[in-house]
């Protein structure tokens, strides 16, 4: 009963962790970890990478852990700094982790990364591909854009407003044309009268 609550001792991941994969490597477990470190480094550096599904899924958990620990403990925590030093092979990215990613993601309520299944050429290779990205990146969104869906309530309202605006403008235009044509008709009528008078005088 007096045991510590484990969930409070370490940060909980916000993604479903799949069972450990045996990413085969000729250098054994060290080689495997090096592969994952390279992936995590690339993710922090580029913020969006495309790679094989298994490797992305495996590396994602470590990236999540790194970011959540950085948010939780900050940059004055020795263990977190060592973790960052271990996972980030390019050391300029340690600055990025604490100075850019922590402020960006500290109020994030979901996972810090996103993973999509990427299309493969048919029939292509057997391995599935995926896109791994950090949230809040500057790149165009990979999700389909539903903002133009005609049935969304704001689009319905905007369409109606647009229609009203056009109707108003057309009415204005019609009024303008009508007044102009009336003025022209008057002018033509007066000119015609003058000509007739001249003709009568000549005759």
């Amino acid at each position: 009963m007096n045991q510590a609550d484990v969930s409070k001792l370490m940060s909980q991941l916000r993604i479903a962790v799949k069972p450990h994969r045996n990413l085969r490597n000729p250098d054994g477990p060290e080689g495997r970890l090096l592969k994952l470190r390279k992936t995590v480094t690339a993710l922090v550096k580029h913020e969006r990478i495309e790679l094989y599904y298994n490797r992305a899924d495996e590396a994602r958990g470590y990236a999540e852990l790194l970011i959540s620990n950085a948010i939780r403990y900050g940059d004055r925590h020795k263990a977190t700094m060592e973790l960052a030093d271990y996972w980030l092979l390019e050391k300029q990215l340690v600055h990025k982790l604490f100075k850019v990613l922590v402020p960006r993601l500290e109020n994030c309520n979901f996972s810090y990364t996103r993973m999509y299944k990427a299309p493969r050429d048919y029939p292509g290779m057997y391995y599935r591909k995926s896109v791994l990205e950090l949230r809040g990146n500057p790149y165009p969104s990979l999700l389909p854009d539903y903002t133009n869906n005609r049935n969304l309530i704001h689009n319905v309202l905007l369409d109606e407003a647009r229609k009203d605006y056009r109707r108003e403008k057309l009415a204005e235009l019609a009024d303008k044309i009508a007044s102009e044509s009336a003025v022209n008709a008057e002018k033509v009528g007066s000119e015609g009268d003058a000509k007739e008078a001249e003709n009568v005088e000549k005759a």
């Binding site: 990215l93 299944k117 896109v131 790149y139 990979l142």
Partner: protein, 201 residues
């Protein structure tokens, strides 16, 4: 020389003789055939020469021939495979949908290849630019990518003190990658004027 001439003359005479008596088909002419006699050219089956494996094989031996009959089940399995394990005939895919944006087909739960290609190319261009700009210095500020003719958005209090690294793309922002949700309602008024036809008589 004289021997050659003799041989060719001899063969010519032989051929002439054969042609006169047997015609060009190698059989005796019909006029010479006797009624009721078996024709020589038809090769009637001889009753003593029945089919036998011994005659056919002689001294030879046979290699790798099936010893036992394959059952129908085995034959069908070899032909079509097993449904649960390795089903060989083509199977229709039911997890294909058409993209709401571009109309291309894609697998369910997988990004649309056409839309993804577009985004991927733009992302790669942006990544190249960002990498070029940031170099090897420690990264301390958020990166903002600006396209041609764009300016940095100001803060709420109007000051421009947001600490960001600005990366400029030397091209206009793609239409599909727009931050502006509103679309243009009316076209700009035209500068051109109506020209009435002249010299029509």
């Amino acid at each position: 020389m004289s021997r050659n001439i003799y041989q060719s003359l001899n063969s010519f005479l032989n051929r002439l003789e054969r042609f006169i008596f047997f015609g060009h088909r190698g059989q005796p002419p019909l006029e010479l055939a006797l009624v009721g006699m078996p024709s020589v050219g038809l090769n009637a089956p001889n009753k003593s020469d029945r089919f036998s494996l011994k005659n056919l094989l002689g001294d030879g031996i046979l290699w790798a021939v099936p010893k036992h009959r394959r059952t129908i089940e085995k034959r069908l399995n070899r032909k079509f495979g097993l449904p649960g394990y390795n089903w060989k005939p083509l199977v229709a895919k039911t997890n294909l949908r058409s993209c709401n944006q571009c109309g291309h087909d894609h697998e369910l739960g997988v990004l649309c290849p056409h839309c993804y290609k577009k985004v991927e190319q733009e992302t790669r261009l942006m990544q190249e630019k960002i990498e070029q700009k940031l170099g090897l210095e420690p990264i301390e500020h958020e990166v903002v990518v600006l396209y041609q003719g764009e300016q940095l958005e100001k803060n709420e209090n109007g000051s421009n003190d947001r600490k960001v690294r600005v990366v400029e793309m030397e091209k206009p922002r793609p239409v599909w990658f727009s931050k502006n949700l509103m679309q243009k309602t009316t076209a700009q008024p035209a500068d051109t004027k109506e020209v009435k036809p002249s010299n029509l008589g």
